[in-house]
């Protein structure tokens, strides 16, 4: 999705607010407190208990983990931006890193296939895509952005 598409989408949705916007260093110890804060913001958004306890924290943890370890290669000085945008219809989580980006479809494997079941890695993108209604990746201002959308039920 381009920035123009994004702004057009926002215009169509009258009640959009940024609930969370933070820059964090590339350190996996930053993940848990950020996920806790975002999950707290989710309370009262008409999301189900499961969405608050499972979908949001797991998918966001995966996106942050990818951004820190793969996008920014664990270099602490490189920053990760985390935004949560709430509209009438959806919760949108955006995680931006300074990496070169990746092909979402090419990098998503099916860890449930018989040959992959005992793999120790490779479940991150699969979980994000299973737990969110939409997962997109795009570039914006030289940043690699993963956008997770969860429809409000």
């Amino acid at each position: 999705m381009t920035a123009a598409d994004e702004s057009g989408e926002r215009r169509r949705d009258a009640h959009v607010r940024v609930a969370f916007d933070r820059l964090i260093p590339s350190d996996v110890r930053e993940i848990e407190p950020i996920v806790e804060q975002v999950t707290r913001e989710c309370q009262g958004l008409e999301l189900s208990a499961r969405q608050c306890a499972l979908n949001v924290p797991v998918a966001l943890t995966e996106a942050l983990s990818n951004a820190i370890l793969r996008g920014n290669r664990g270099i602490r000085d490189k920053r990760v931006r985390v935004r949560a945008v709430v509209s009438d219809h959806a919760l949108v989580l955006e995680v931006a890193d300074e990496g070169a980006g990746f092909d979402l479809d090419a990098c998503t494997i099916d860890p449930t296939s018989p040959g992959s079941l005992e793999r120790e890695d490779g479940r991150g993108l699969f979980l994000m895509r299973s737990l969110m209604d939409r997962v997109e990746r795009y570039e914006s201002d030289a940043l690699n952005v993963v956008r997770l959308t969860l429809n409000r039920t």
Binding site: V28, R29, I31, E32, R50, A53, L54, P57, V58, T61, E62, S65, L69, P111, T112, L117, E118, R119, E120, D121, G122, R123, G124, F126, L127, S130, L131
Partner: protein
Amino acid sequence: MSFSIKKQGEICVVDVEGQLIVGNRQELKQKVLDELEKGEKKFLIDFSQTGYIDSSGLGVLVSLSKKIREQGGELRLANLNDDLKTLFELTKLDTLFQIADTRERALESF
């Protein structure tokens, strides 16, 4: 988050308190591997106090399962709440692990 290991008979029972995620998975792995190295063979991981698990946490469980089996040991899981069960079902890891509803049932299953 924290991990504690207690012996219950000949079974090492590991309690996972909080999240099992990329930032702490190595701690769990090392604690279990230390016990395996000491000669322990039977392990039960109890998730009654666990919030959520990410793909790294699942990966560590898969890794430990393999290492314990290679040493002739057994790993059981217990007390997954409905959300955690969903996570195991989505990834089909419920077919890889022996999962009991309660700690007691898991202990009896060895």
